[in-house]
């Protein structure tokens, strides 16, 4: 079936593999970066305004329940933010990564022992000092756990980005599926899985360091 020796196959695809891995990483990191920049402050804001809670968490929850394939599909016809290409892909990935990041930031800050918060206020900390000196450091392990879950999921979901022309390792997978070439599928799937494992390991390590 695959007369070509494995070494030759890999050598042939090495340049593209490198490029696709780069695209994949870039899409993932961009999406996680944006999701963190929105999700963490929003999660914290929600602890300050319980009225926001239902809306923010509800929205993120609903997005999360949309099958990822469908989410990409929905974005294609939307003008300005949608369409074919990396921009749509990053938006879909960001929406997808938002929930775990937002929820963990919210839970992390809300989960701070009320007596610790009380004593911080009693001591005359401003709300900003309370947040910066007490709540965020105590919430940090949970916030990092949210980032880890989001990143690991995102690495996997990013393979679908190829479907709307955003590139990434999914390109191999879809080409492989179309041409019934198992090696090509694996060429996309294996590095993607390795990236996810690496993200899981690296962020897990950071989490443990911070939790000490």
């Amino acid at each position: 079936m695959n007369p070509q020796p494995l070494g030759e196959f890999l050598a042939l695809h090495a340049p593209e593999l490198l490029r696709r891995t780069g695209e994949h990483l870039w899409l993932t990191l961009l999406a996680i970066g944006i999701a963190a920049a929105i999700g963490i402050p929003l999660g914290v804001a929600v602890t300050r305004r319980p009225r926001l809670e239902r809306w923010a968490l509800g929205f993120a929850n609903v997005v999360q329940t949309i099958p990822s394939l469908a989410l990409f599909g929905f974005l294609i016809p939307i003008p300005l933010i949608g369409g074919i290409g990396a921009r749509s892909a990053v938006i879909a990935l960001t929406l997808y990564a938002l929930l775990p990041i937002l929820r963990n930031a919210y839970e992390g800050v809300r989960g701070v022992d009320p007596s610790v918060r009380e004593s911080a206020l009693a001591m005359g900390m401003t709300d900003w000092q309370l947040l910066r000196l007490v709540e965020l450091p105590l919430a940090a392990p949970l916030i990092l756990a949210g980032l880890r879950v989001a990143t690991v999921t995102c690495v996997g979901v990013t393979t679908i980005a190829a479907l709307i022309g955003a590139g990434g390792l999914g390109t191999f997978i879809f080409t492989g599926l179309q041409t019934v070439n198992a090696r090509l599928i694996l060429l996309g799937a294996v590095p993607s899985a390795l990236l996810a494992l690496a993200a899981d390991f690296g962020l897990g390590w950071a989490e443990r360091r911070i939790a000490r």
């Binding site: 022992d113 007596s115 610790v116 918060r117 009380e118 004593s119 911080a120 206020l121 009693a122 001591m123 005359g124 900390m125 401003t126 000092q129 000196l133 007490v134 450091p137 105590l138």
Partner: protein, 246 residues
């Protein structure tokens, strides 16, 4: 009234409601400068709520709370709270910080020089009977309950506030350690002369430490007087409390 003497803490006809629930009702009380006022009362009588009104973690629904002759509502809450050392009922040490950082927090927030803060922290740890070299670097979870409460007291004293609010600072301790810490507080108070509002439901603690005692019942001050008067008071509610100590 002597116009030169500042009244550190005064409550005038204070009512405090949470929704429909009446937590404090028509409370008039004051703590004299350099003296210890003990709030005695059963669980749920409103002692913690009263302390929280003094440093404006809550505002009264009616009446006025005065600190150093200014209404708490007219104080900048941050300034007010930094002039008041408060050991909350649950102590509430910062779990992610060393004892050193915990004790030094208010002076550092106030921007005092690092050298001075370090010296002050050591001094305070010694003052509350802890060995600075042994505990300064530890986290709160590496301390015994009694040590944590001492650290809480040291933290409240750190910025040298003229007023101290102590909410059962020796609660949940074995009786012997409790007596030890009470003696230490007595000694401390002899040297520091703070205005202290001490919450307790332990009659003997109130008798030992207080210059004045106020008895709270369901949000009302039902009796006030000196420890000597407390020991002689014929009122039924005071007698019942006294007997609880015997």
């Amino acid at each position: 009234m002597d116009s030169a003497a500042i009244s550190p803490v005064r409550l005038e006809s204070v009512r405090y409601q949470i929704g429909e629930a009446l937590i404090l009702d028509d409370v008039t009380l004051d703590a004299a400068a350099g003296q210890t006022l003990a709030l005695l009362g059963r669980s749920g009588s409103g002692k913690t709520s009263l302390l929280r009104l003094i440093n404006r973690l809550q505002s009264p629904s009616a009446g006025e709370v005065w600190v150093e002759d200014r209404r708490t509502l007219d104080w900048d809450p941050i300034r007010l709270r930094r002039r008041i050392g408060y050991v909350i009922q649950e102590v509430g040490l910062f779990p992610h910080w060393s004892v050193e950082r915990n004790v030094g927090v208010v002076p550092r927030l106030e921007g005092r020089p690092e050298e001075a803060v370090r010296r002050r922290v050591r001094e305070l740890l010694e003052l509350v009977g802890l060995e600075p070299d042994a505990v300064a670097a530890r986290r709160p979870r590496e301390l015994s309950g009694g040590q944590r409460q001492r650290v809480g007291v040291a933290r409240a004293l750190a910025a040298d506030p003229p007023i101290l609010l102590l909410d059962e600072p020796f609660g949940a301790l074995d009786p012997i350690t409790r007596r030890d810490l009470q003696q230490e507080l007595l000694r401390l108070q002899g040297a520091l002369r703070k205005t202290i509002v001490l919450v307790t439901h332990d009659v003997r603690e109130a008798l030992l430490l207080a210059d004045r005692i106020a008895l709270l019942e369901q949000g009302r001050v039902v009796w006030r007087g000196t420890p000597a008067e407390f020991e002689a008071a014929p009122e039924e509610r005071v007698r019942r409390f006294r007997e609880s100590a015997a």
